[in-house]
């Protein structure tokens, strides 16, 4: 396995440059899942992404489509497209839209409206079982989006049908659009809720690579659908962005970009 810390740093760096270049939003949400994406994309044994169109590839579906720069960056590092293509992000008519776009190689579906990907992932996991195919579906959900009822319809469905080829990774950074999740519409106790819905549930530090790796590997051998709750920090890796609602919206200035790039590269 390549050095996942280095991959995570590269995902963060590319994400920052993309958001800066396009004067886009949601950098905090992207930094929050950089470690998860690094673990998912670094090793084909964890998540088989040898090619983006292999019918037996594992599927990564980004439900929180606003964090797309992290996914685009991870897929670019995987070699699915060039950095030059990636840097068209945010340009008029570019396939690299400001929410996850299925016109980008490796992006399994377009998202942006919350609460859509988990039902679709259930359909894909059901299909794999029906066709006796051996691949896994990973869905990356935000915490705030669990307030959408459609997710709970899908959570019931996956458990009822014992879709053990499905794993959800919940980015529990406890910040949503205006305030903390706790202050807005609390999910607590999220682990107990998921367990009572019939999901194998694990809580990890979402920035601890060995913990993430172990939880993802375990989820593939579970006989139930798996939920991994990632305790994370929105804006992780850039001191002045961490745990700040404002970085759901702002894009960095020149000076802020330089500072942020220094921090994520460990300088």
């Amino acid at each position: 396995m390549e050095d996942t810390q280095q991959i995570a740093a590269q995902i963060r760096e590319l994400s920052l440059r993309l958001v800066y270049k396009a004067k886009a939003s949601h950098i905090g949400s992207a930094l929050s899942i950089a470690d998860l994406l690094a673990i998912l994309t670094a090793d084909n044994h964890v998540c088989n992404l040898r090619t983006h169109d292999d019918p037996n590839r594992d599927r990564i579906i980004l439900s929180k489509g606003h964090a797309c720069v992290a996914l685009y960056s991870a897929l670019c590092l995987k070699g699915f497209f060039s950095e030059e293509d990636l840097m068209t992000y945010g340009d008029d008519f570019s396939p690299f839209m400001n929410h996850a776009s299925h016109y980008v190689p490796g992006v399994e579906m377009s998202t942006g409206a919350l609460g859509h990907a988990l039902p679709v992932a259930c359909g894909r996991a059901y299909s794999a079982r029906l066709k006796r195919e051996d691949w896994h579906t990973f869905v990356i959900l935000s915490d705030g989006e669990l307030q959408e009822g459609s997710n709970w319809e899908a959570l019931m469905f996956a458990a009822h049908h014992k879709l053990d080829n499905l794993t959800i990774c919940i980015d529990y950074n406890n910040l949503q659009s205006l305030d903390t999740v706790d202050n807005t519409l609390s999910l607590r106790p999220l682990d107990e809720k998921l367990m009572s819905f019939g999901w194998k549930t694990t809580i990890v530090n979402g920035h601890d690579h060995p913990e993430l790796l172990s939880a993802l590997q375990d989820s593939k051998s579970s006989n139930l659908p798996s939920a991994i709750i990632l305790n994370t920090q929105k804006g992780k890796g850039v001191s002045f962005m961490e745990n700040m609602v404002a970085w759901h919206y702002k894009s960095p200035s020149d000076a802020q970009l330089q500072q942020a790039l220094k921090e994520v590269s460990g300088q």
Binding site: S110, P119, E153
Partner: protein, 310 residues
């Protein structure tokens, strides 16, 4: 019509393992025959239309051919965003089937009146709208869709509808199919200039009225239309001076407004006279026969003023 759907699905599922039927807990005494035969390819998702539409999208992304089943506006309005973003935007061949078109469930209340579904579904750029006039057209529409995979909304009445189709030719996108021609005495040239285009269940009522009143206007079914059919349909529309559209749906966004939009966009000389459910019906709860009476009275007076009735 729902029987034709299920029979078609059973026949198709026998030969094609990609066919899969989903229901949001509806279809008692209708779907069992399919479910018993193809238990693995039958999913009752429970009372959860958003999930059903999303699951169907996911199945279609993996190459399956999903058909979702429910009634009224449940499979359209409740999960409109899933149909828009997940199915239509990704151009997936999911067939959204709704039973109880128009005011078929008249007495069950406004919650069960599917009278705005066409306007919701036909504004989606890739969505083909399917409005069969009889069970034969249900089968022909499904045959067409099987060979031309795309997002499709299939609007069905209930069961026991009579055969109206005059021929068993394949049904094509944007085409019209004659259901009734006037008796002798009317020259075909005259009658060709004015016609009625009726969608879905109203076709049965329109043909009965035309026969009874000895109307001189031809009656057509338009089984496959919607935005992807704009250009094809305009060719048919342009063949007439006057087209009276009839539908068990409100005017706003329905088939009549579709015909008017197509005519305006193409600068056709065709005059469209829309006959649709009016304010005197919307929100009213009664038997279907009762709720359709004002529609048919409106049609009759239109035919009279256009000189189609003696």
């Amino acid at each position: 019509m729902r029987t034709a759907l299920v029979e078609w699905l059973i026949a198709k599922a026998q030969n094609d393992t990609k066919v899969i039927l989903l229901t949001a807990d509806l279809g008692y005494s209708v779907l069992e025959r399919y479910a018993d035969k193809f238990s693995e390819r039958f999913i009752n998702v429970g009372v959860a239309e958003q999930n059903m539409a999303g699951i169907a999208a996911g199945l279609a992304m993996e190459g399956l051919r999903p058909y979702t089943y429910s009634i009224g506006i449940f499979p359209s309005f409740r999960c409109a965003e899933q149909i828009r973003n997940d199915i239509d935007y990704h151009q997936l061949p999911v067939v959204t089937c709704s039973i109880g078109s128009g005011v078929a469930y008249g007495n069950l209340g406004y919650s069960h009146h599917a009278i705005q579904d066409l306007s919701l579904m036909r504004c989606l750029p890739n969505m083909v709208i399917a409005t069969p006039a009889d069970p034969l057209e249900v089968r022909k529409i499904l045959d067409w869709h099987y060979d031309n995979p795309c997002p499709m909304y299939l609007r069905l009445h209930k069961a026991g509808e009579p055969k109206l189709s005059l021929d068993e030719s394949p049904r094509e996108l944007g085409e019209i199919y004659c259901l009734w021609t006037p008796d002798s005495g009317i020259s075909s040239t005259d009658s060709a200039k004015i016609c009625i285009m009726a969608v879905g269940h109203t076709a049965e009522k329109v043909v009965a009225l035309s026969r009874e009143k000895k109307s001189s206007a031809l009656v057509y079914s338009v089984p496959l239309w919607g935005k992807p059919a704009n250009n094809l349909f305009s060719n048919r529309l342009s063949e007439f001076d006057v087209v009276i559209t009839v539908e068990d749906h409100v005017l706003e966004g329905g088939f009549g407004s579709y015909a008017m939009e197509v005519a305006a966009r193409k600068s056709l000389k065709t005059r469209v006279i829309p006959v649709a459910l009016g304010d005197n019906v919307v929100g009213c709860v009664a038997r279907e026969e009762t709720l359709l009476k004002p529609l048919l009275q409106n049609l009759e007076s239109r035919l009279l003023s256009e000189g189609c009735l003696n």
